[in-house]
Subunit: 293 residues, 2 copies
């Protein structure tokens, strides 16, 4: 079994990006710029946005966090989005979800100009992904594809089972693994809560991608000998042995499954760091596309 | 075995639409309007556009075909698209493909305003379909979903195998059959030219959708007893017994498979008429959405 060390690979990719940005600057060009819009003071959202800002700093991107009050109206937020759409100095921006309940998340996401939507949540970008056109792919699926690519894992003709059909992971993952590309060209099985005999289906997978959000759901009996296992889940479970009282686990029972598979992502340190890095890669792409115009 | 008679159902739906349009007109409202843009004089394209015009007339829609010369520039065509985008009297329009080789099909399709793109080919509509948002679904997959729905075929939890991953049939079909809806909620297997053991996979399907474009490819040995079989293909094969010298067949070996399955679409008279009718349904939806604004 080989560990798909997302943390190490993400570090390598961030180094590559930092070098690239250094060269841009040495040629007298401005660095890429990512803006995060944070509405209200949701704890996890502040943590995520803080991490994104730190990542930008690490690779030499300009970044900015717009902290907006929980009380602002949807119209005011739309106005902010419009300003960011028009600001030529901003290559990409994200509006951190969830938004306060008096706002319509979807309306806000659709107001973001597709060529600055580095989260890849705008329907136009989702459609471009489905059609194999150049757009932005959501960070988690993009990170997983990069992980497979850099490890030169052969996917063509393999049976890939995706557990979960969320808009930001399961559904795009199935599209990407099935398209005519490398990584890609898998025969893809998209499973979900209504799937019958999920265990039997998973046990046939050459590549198993677990994105259902249930701690240690995938046991040893669901994994074929020699399969590639990608674990997207991340949950806290109690662990009295730890000082913190908890530990992080994925959707896969790592200890049991690791014995059986050829490759596996650890949690933490697998998909998570690749996701963070994919946002930087999307921002860099947005930068180049804006330069071309 | 029960025949999924698309021709008969399409007739029923067109009657429903005609009645609805009659009521609109009796209330003093204008009928829906579909415009088809035809560039050049490609034979099959003229036939398709002619059929669409005829369908519109049958249900009481206004319709118009803009015949443009093969020699016009891409800029001129984009100008026509822009005029149709702005014309409040046009609910939906299509640009018949293929376009002459000096034009970029994708650029033209993306210029069509998404709320008038009744073909459902614009990335924004493809993305909305993937995300389960209201948009326009391409006519063939939309027609198949309608066919399953009107025959009250239970799809939830069924294994649906889709052969083919084209942008206009296979890929959207897989998305629609897998989403949380009825019809929908299938466990979907998306297969294609790189799939290994295609026969074995198809033989497990509760619902088999053949959209690969190879005459009579799906034989009896690829179909499970009692499966629902949807045949999207339509090819001419030589048939000296016919006066015309040819006959139309699908991707399924109908005579052999019909013995074994629970439901099957004939070719012709199955998916084809439903596809034509789906375009009318999309146009009617476009009309109502424009009225709401």
């Amino acid at each position: 079994m080989q560990l798909l060390n997302g943390k190490a690979l993400a570090g390598t990719i961030r180094n590559e990006i930092r070098e690239e940005v250094g060269q841009l600057i040495s040629k007298g060009q401005r660095p890429p710029k990512l803006v995060a819009v944070l509405v209200g003071s949701d704890g996890p959202s502040q943590t995520y946005v803080g991490a994104k800002e730190k990542d930008c700093t690490e690779v030499g991107f300009d970044s900015e966090v717009l902290h907006l009050s929980e009380d602002i109206s949807e119209a005011e937020l739309l106005n902010t989005v419009e300003q960011l759409n028009e600001d030529a100095g901003v290559d990409g921006f994200i509006v951190q979800l969830p938004l306060p309940s008096h706002m319509n998340d979807q309306r806000i996401l659709e107001a973001i100009r597709a060529d600055k939507d580095v989260d890849g949540f705008h329907p136009e970008n989702v459609g471009k992904m489905a059609l194999g056109l150049q757009g932005f792919v959501p960070a988690t699926p993009a990170g997983i594809v990069e992980l497979l690519k850099r490890h030169q894992i052969d996917t063509e003709g393999k049976l890939c089972v995706v557990i979960g059909r969320s808009s930001i992971v399961g559904m795009p993952m199935a599209l990407l693994m099935g398209k005519n590309a490398q990584p890609g060209n898998c025969t893809v099985v998209q499973t979900h809560s209504r799937t019958k005999d999920l265990k039997g289906i998973c046990a046939q997978a050459d590549i198993l991608i677990a994105a259902l959000g249930r701690p240690r759901f995938v046991g040893e009996e669901m994994v074929k000998e020699g399969a590639v296992v990608i674990d997207v889940g991340i949950s806290r479970i109690e662990d009295p042995a730890r000082k913190s009282g908890f530990r992080l686990v994925g959707d896969v029972d790592f200890e049991a499954v690791a014995q059986k598979c050829s490759y596996i992502t650890p949690v933490p340190g697998g998909v998570g760091p690749m996701t963070r890095t994919a946002l930087l890669q999307n921002t860099l792409q947005a930068y180049y596309r804006h330069q071309e115009k």
